[in-house]
Amino acid sequence: MGMTMAEKIIALAAGIEKTKAGDIETVTLDRLMSNDGTTHLTIDMYNKLKNPHIADVEKLVWIVDHNIPSDSPKTAASHKKMRDFAAEHGITYYEGEGVCHQIMMENHVRPGELIFGADSHTCAYGALGAFGTGVGCTDYLYAMVTGTSWLLVPESLKFNLHGKLREGVYARDLILTIIGRIGANGANYKAMEFCGEGLATLSMADRISICNLCVEAGAKTALMEVDDVALDYLKAHGREPKAIVKSDPDAVYSETYDIDLNEIEPIVAKPHFVDNVVPAKECEGVKIDEAFLGSCNNGRIEDLRVGAEVIKGKKVAERVRFLVVPASRAVYEQAMKEGLLDIFLDAGAIIMNPNCSVCWGACQGVIGEGETLISTGTRNFKGRAGHKDSFVYLASAATVTASAIAGKITTADRV
């Protein structure tokens, strides 16, 4: 019996020849990412250990991205704890450089690695053929101290991509369509593996966007075959693969889906669930108070280019805030070089520093009671962007920007 990509990467990390879905394996982690969402608690637990130590400090990457710059004395204290600990132990540390997953993709992730991130969207690393999975701070601490953890080998769902996305349709529309089809727990405990000739038509930005959102279907990880697009990205960022794994022709999948990219259309996920998806045209006219272009899902240069093209020469609607948040310093600098920031500024957008921003609803751009946000962020849960009685719609960079111009939900072909 052949193995899936997920099984192969776990076997590699466990130092064994073969494994299969349902087995529990002890693995050595290749990399351990943690951000300011939970690291202060990890440090408190670390300090209470009988024998505190770090197995391999080279594998740790700590990133302050959720509440940066800090919004309160309490946040500042949590950041200081993280900053001081990282300095004391020599941990690779970023602060204000960008959203953790974007930093990881630009600087650390390598194909074939098994990575724990204390953040659910760690599954994004599958865009480079790495097994990334989200864990809590206790799992993180255990792996930090021992260098190892245990994993239940997941079953895999296979998504065969065919054709090509039409003009004006984006990776965000594709993954929202898939989540709508399989549901918020449709991939719970499972790996989502993407392959097929349609994959070759997708850019790295598209791929990260797709893998990143797979946790919204409950997935343990997302994986994509490593091809020239991925290898070119890796090379451009000065890294080599750990291993390039491909699923075997006789690998076992619990389900296989064939997706025709040509059939995908602009999609919106309505409040308060990511799987609550409808064609964008069904939300046409819903009044918005704020629009957000950014996050680990859609804050890359490709997304800013899409937004800039839609809004060039136009204005943000009156009484609407349009937040533009590049996902990293590199993205910010590139957007500046290409003149995209000028376009957004001329249109009346608010450009913010690279961070998680309103996607997680505790830092910038928080919305008030009864307000509506359209967002390229990751989630639209009740209260996710601020007040418990507020509303979040999720859509592509194009749809979000078009809606900022119209002051109501609309698609880019209508502004």
């Binding site: 760690t122 206790t138 255990y142």
Partner: protein
Amino acid sequence: MGKIFKFYKDVDTDQIIASQYLLFPTIDEMKTHTFESLNSDFAKDVRPGDFVVADENFGCGSSREQAPGVLKALGVKAVIAKSFARIFYRNSINIGMPVIVCKDLYEAVKDGDEMELDLENGVIRANGKEYSCTKLPAKMQEILDQGGLIASLNREE
């Protein structure tokens, strides 16, 4: 016996503890905000030994360990749901809070009912009836028995 606090399906971790409280220095400072968006009296009303009962996919969304953390800090004895999202499930076991899969309880009880949990035998008693629940995988039972993953780490070393 403990009181049941009943919730629906796909309860995400943002509802259990909202983002704006996550960077508070300690779980104790966060816990008064538990389930704020769904039941603002929850933290005030819940007593040690009470239970949270929910439908499918409890704890979906963010990996924030603060979610099971605040429930445990408030004394919630266990969460019983038809199914759990995987990160919440693993986090709960890791901090030593039982998470129990029971397919039949949810429809049979209402908010405010009382129930009893017999962890060892995998049985729940409520309203004069018994419901069997799924046993934890051995690896998880072992962690729970040791009082959580960190307790097991301290023991190993």
